[in-house]
Symmetry: C2
Subunit: 227 residues, 2 copies
Amino acid sequence: MTTNLATARAKATSKEEILDAAERLFAKSGFDGTSMREIAQEAGVAQALLHYHFKTKEGLFEAMFSRRSGAINRIRLARLDAMIARGTPTLEEIVDSLLRPTIEAGHDPSRGGSTFASLILVMGASNLDWQKGLISASYDAMAKRYIAALRLALPELTPANATWGYLFIIGAALTQMSPTGRADRLSDGETTDSNTETMLSRAVAFAAAGMRGLAARPDPDTTPGRA
Amino acid sequence: MTTNLATARAKATSKEEILDAAERLFAKSGFDGTSMREIAQEAGVAQALLHYHFKTKEGLFEAMFSRRSGAINRIRLARLDAMIARGTPTLEEIVDSLLRPTIEAGHDPSRGGSTFASLILVMGASNLDWQKGLISASYDAMAKRYIAALRLALPELTPANATWGYLFIIGAALTQMSPTGRADRLSDGETTDSNTETMLSRAVAFAAAGMRGLAARPDPDTTPGRA
DNA sequence: GTCTATAGTTCGATAGAC
DNA sequence: GTCTATCGAACTATAGAC
């Protein structure tokens, strides 16, 4: 049912093949940098078929985006619910369940990272209203559940600090989910960003410690004076 | 000498006005989403003048990007050098000197955040070679100096962990430097992302604690077994 | 559901006057 | 250094056959 890049069947419907092609190309070059012609060619269909199925380029983008973000969020919340049902989870468990599904479901075997992560990043940085609206509609409900879970695991967190912590975690990890070789270069070969598992374990440690650091200080929103 | 958006003179040279217009528009809509016609109109000059000064659209983008990234990196390294000359700086001081210049120099008074931060983000997420090359050429040297400074302040950091920590810090903060109203929405009004100073103080606390958390555990690159 | 063909628009870049 | 005018290419979207 869920169409995972890493496990895609050899023959999907042409509609799914269009969505797969769109995901690859939009992630590589962004919305405006990708043409309907390119997507049609990558999917092996005529350009007119894209308009038949999705009406406009923006419609195709939204269909492609919702398919993947919906699948990722379902996995996230299922794991979060299962953890909470077993008792109060640790910060590390919460962060892992937040980050790992983006790597698993967005995995592209030909590149070794999450193509979908680049996509979210490009959209999040965009200041176009329809893209920001799509981000909100796709993620706000899930984000609020995770912010609540962070406060459950770390009661000293104020609502404001929990919100900022969530945003920092997403930003820190999402920017590192598509291997670029940058970590290899900056460390002179001491590490590599092609191993998503070691990246993820470091992101979890960094994020959990960061949240504890946030919780251990006054809230700058409500503490006047030197910020 | 340095052209700061927040303190720009009423009448700059037309070349600078083109760069300013390009920075605003590229940050809003990305490279492919911005046309030379729009930039010319925003700058109040003829489109042909853009090609006279910068030859191609890519040339204009690189000139715009290098002007701002160069100014920001000079401020960063000057502050880092001054701190080290006074003794070993704290993690918090290092992180502040890394993040604050992007807000100061990239500040857009009409929007309250750093337009330039969105620009770097869009480029970093891009998989286009010339954009990744521009990121490397502009930031790798500075990044290596900061990674060394982090290890100076926190000797337990391995080179690999220091590199990943640096990348996490950049990702966490850069994604939050352009106010989107998302923090306001996710916190139900308990905080706001329109105050860059409280955002920055939280980012510094989160990042410093995250680095200490990274330093306090085995390095997953060199520790086989469950990652 | 899928195709070919094309209408209508917008783009980056250049030529050439001043 | 700055402009007007325009070329040729690429784009989104649609019309209409099968």
